[in-house]
Symmetry: C2
Subunit: 459 residues, 2 copies
């Protein structure tokens, strides 16, 4: 057999033409979303003011196993997909491990991450429904950039509310979004009631993700033909992101490989849910039994230390409530935390799978994460996003275990993106200024105290 290449790119013909809906193979479904206005399970129609109709349908549809990817979306996917499946020969050699390490690299597009996969779908369906604008919020800017690209491509105006402190500290991200014609507004702003209220209380407020979401949702619900879109957590996002796993599996099938362990970093779950989708299908249908490992920051440990409870998906407490592993929407990660993945909750689908024992989770400290990132960069010559480096850390740890035991395991991990806009954090690591932070039980309790009360369901 020919040597496995460093990079395998599927051809356009080999590209998946359908997304895969994990819920169709789950024996037990995630608990239904709760509409906070009625305190009853949300219906598809309840979601129409927030999401366009097709996306609301995808959000609720637990039975359709495969969803055709519209031709227009496929056409844009073809500009940066298929993404390569990479064999980490150099990393293996540097670690001296008998393990075979593969990674699916999603960073070779201007958004710098996998976020574009869902941004394209959400912009397309909005355009198709005749909506005339979209809004979203962004913290670090990855999601805002991805959505800007998608909206520019489909010609739909976008307003991004960017947390003011990021807006001021990350002018480059803002400039990238503006290149793609997005209107980028520092939040809190005077353009919304929510923003004006916050600024009246504190004119120097530097903003928060919760505030930016509130502004974005207010603008969406108060503007004719406008909707709010979200880059993670949602079922629809996991559906779109399944393209990652479907491509990875197809490529590994071509190579005659099957992973013993699949590893993904986990913030809201968009990459993890996408990467593992076809392997979780194998597991759910009893075909195979690979280990599936979520990696989260020790400073924001929703899987490993959170509660499986109903919570708001946003810190502004305006979205429907979902049953998920959560630290509470009131939980605020330490400002020392540099590595992304700071979302308080976790995809309801992944939460259910974890709860039912189909997945493992590990929490890693950020200095260990940046150590892995730097090691990886040297041998694989890709500068990873801090988020992605969580998965690198766990993959390296698994490979080092194989070195001890002599096992030739096959490891697949998701390299979600590049870290070109995260050099402040790299500098902090290089200069020894980065510290680890593990929340105390009291810190976590403050977050749990913010969990909603739902009569008869969650008291």
């Amino acid at each position: 057999m020919a040597k496995i290449p460093y990079r395998l790119y599927l051809t356009e013909e080999q590209m998946p033409k359908q997304w895969y809906n994990l819920r169709a193979d789950m024996k037990e479904q995630p608990d239904p979303m709760i509409n906070p206005a009625t305190m009853k399970p949300a219906t598809e129609e309840d979601l129409y003011p927030v999401f366009c109709k097709k996306l609301a349908h995808q959000e609720m549809d637990a039975t359709t196993r495969y969803v055709d990817i519209p031709e227009e979306i496929l056409e844009m996917y073809k500009i940066y997909r298929p993404s390569p499946l990479c064999r980490a020969y150099n990393l293996e050699k540097a670690l001296g491990t008998p393990a075979k390490i593969y990674y699916k690299f999603e960073g070779n597009n201007t958004s710098g991450s996998h976020k574009l996969n869902s941004a394209i779908a959400q912009a397309y369906y909005a355009k198709e429904q005749g909506l005339t604008s979209l809004t979203t919020e962004t913290g670090a800017g990855q999601w805002g950039t991805a959505l800007s690209e998608a909206c520019a491509y489909f010609g739909i105006p976008l307003t991004v509310f960017m947390v003011k402190v990021s807006y001021e500290q990350k002018p480059f991200r803002k400039a990238v979004m503006k290149t793609f014609d997005a209107e980028v507004i520092p939040s809190p702003s005077m353009t919304t009631e929510a923003g004006r209220k916050i600024l009246a209380d504190d004119p120097n407020c530097t903003g928060s993700l919760g505030c930016a979401i509130s502004e974005a949702v207010e603008k969406a619900t108060h503007t004719e033909g406008c909707r709010y879109v979200l880059g993670s957590v949602l079922n629809q996002v996991l559906l779109h992101q399944s393209i990652i796993g479907l491509e990875a599996k197809k490529a590994m099938d071509i190579l005659g490989e099957y992973p013993d362990i699949v590893i993904g970093c986990a913030g809201g779950g968009s990459n993890l849910g996408g990467l593992i989708a076809p392997y979780m299908q194998d597991k759910l249908t009893g075909k195979t039994n690979p280990r599936i490992v979520a990696v989260e920051p020790a400073s924001c440990p929703s899987f490993t230390r959170g509660r499986y409870a109903y919570d708001f998906c946003d810190t502004g407490k305006i979205t429907p409530m979902a049953k998920m592993y959560t630290l509470g929407s009131g939980f605020i990660p330490s400002s020392n935390h540099a590595g992304g993945l700071r979302y308080h909750g976790m995809s309801p689908i992944l939460s259910k799978l974890y709860h039912d024992g189909y997945m493992e989770a590990v929490a890693v400290e950020q200095t260990k994460v940046f150590e892995a990132a730097t090691f990886f960069a040297k041998y694989e010559t890709i500068l990873p996003a801090p988020e992605s480096a969580h998965a690198i850390r766990a993959a390296m740890d698994e490979a080092l275990k194989c070195k001890e035991t002599g096992e030739e395991k096959t490891i697949l991990f998701g390299l979600t993106g590049t870290g070109y806009f995260d050099m402040t954090a790299y500098s902090a690591y290089q200069e020894g200024r980065m510290v680890d932070y593990i929340p105390t039980d009291a810190d976590l309790q403050r977050g749990f105290d913010s969990l909603p009360k739902i009569p008869g369901i969650q008291e």
Copy 2:
């Protein structure tokens, strides 16, 4: 026939295993380099103190047509190569042109550009000869990043002298280089005689490329087992960069396509020389006659307004002198110039070909360049480096001419890299703060006045 894909990646098996040496097919050779110490043509041995032996040989070897790429270099190439040949369907549609536009995209690696192709070769040959360290200078940081990656991979220590003003204004580039273990020193520094002298005269000096080169060369020549390396202009660099054109041609051959026009941006000529290599071969050997177009900034117009004369390759006037199109090593582009490509001279090989009528050249103004960059980004969803956007501008202009005439020309251009570290310039463009600058004849004359006098050759 199947539709031409958006992206064509050659397989590892299809990758070129040899570089192509353009000089072997040139009927007339570039004039020899002159050793400033003897004022006589430089020999291969004259170059040994500056370059390692294999590279000195490649610099002087005008007859070997194909040079085997060492296995170790091929192995590192495979991490990020072959780079994709892209069909710009969306750009064509947006322009409404009947032209077919292709681009060879070299930006999908952490250095963000094609520079890595030669950095790997230079680091490898240095390591092979048993050298123990390398030095170089960097302005904006692209070359420094590429060389850092290559040196980390081959385990050879690197010192980068970075122009102090860039060091301070571009902390992110510095941090990337440090991730790859490079020692990055702001220049002028107290670590060299040259630096100390400058700082004694002016303690607040913010540096220049000339000063950084002087420091790097001093360190190289005063350190046992150390050499200085350069990322453009040189014959050896063009040899290594031929991988770009060889891959592009192989991919176009597979698609049954042949360009009517090949377009590349030109600073020192490393990308242009690499991209056009196999097409220039066809032209030199009378097989075909495509148009070959160099695009340079109007603010640094070495081809279009320079002199074909002997000049130093560096502003420090310490390297051998080469016959090339040059503005004079004393020419300083306006500080308003944001778009890279600010080298005063041009590859001697390309200069000779241009002089002999094998190539055309156009100069473009930077606001037009950023206009093209922004347009391109929206439709092709790649944020281009300003350097690359010079080629985009010219390709778009050619495609728009086709729109007028109805000609279905096939255009190939080089997209050398991404602009993630150039957002300051993008912001200036977006905010209307970018101005164009065209040097006056008097400005140019000041540069020409710095040309060296060589008895009997150039008075």
